[in-house]
């Protein structure tokens, strides 16, 4: 017995989606190499993962050619929003402020980026 239903992509699946969003449509090999930069993974492992993601409808596959090409089937925006939303409720008791604080402390952010964020805040308050 285990989980019952919902919940989005798994950890690895999210990693793969991230790569596809970033690099555009890719073959298994390309994705596998990108993954390898963090933590080596066998080719067939990545392949299987992507086949399962296809079944789940997380990605779509163009198999008209010898080398199948995969691309995301879920939007970057919605998926990210969903993942962040979950984290927000689960770990930050709904406080976006706290989450933002951690995000900014988890990584050095350039002044340019800070400026963009500030502009975003302005727009939000812009009513």
């Amino acid at each position: 017995m285990a989980r019952q239903k919902v919940s989005g992509p798994t950890d690895k699946e999210l990693t793969i989606l991230g790569i596809l969003w970033n690099n555009g449509p890719s073959t298994v090999r390309q994705v596998n190499e990108e993954m390898g930069k963090q933590e080596r993974t066998g080719y067939t492992t990545t392949l299987k993962l992507m086949q399962i993601m296809t079944e789940k409808g997380l990605v779509v596959r163009d198999d008209s050619k010898f080398q199948h090409v995969y691309k995301p089937a879920v939007s970057e925006e919605n998926t990210q929003k969903q993942v962040v939303g979950n984290l927000l409720e689960k770990v930050f008791s709904g406080s976006a402020e706290k989450l933002v604080m951690r995000a900014l402390s988890a990584k050095k952010v350039s002044a340019k980026e800070l400026a963009k964020i500030r502009k975003m805040l302005d727009e939000m308050e812009g009513k």
Copy 2:
């Protein structure tokens, strides 16, 4: 065969840690009830989860009384930073700006909170 090593708390574990950070030291029942607000879970399931977390050192248990009381053994700050850091790299290709954007769009944020965030930005920029 499966995962090889690292990675922090699992999803459910994170949920439990979140509850403990928020509500302070709690019994299994208290945690279980809190969890139930989202998705019903059997008492023994929650118990088992917390026992495992004790083994992993994620929480510590005071079993001097009949009702064992659990409290977090990992800091809220470090854990949150780690989780957010992971997400940042994996899903947002390291862009804190993007993550912040999603966080703000995932949830309505009060003007007061926005102000706090802005203040935080000011401090980050130094001066």
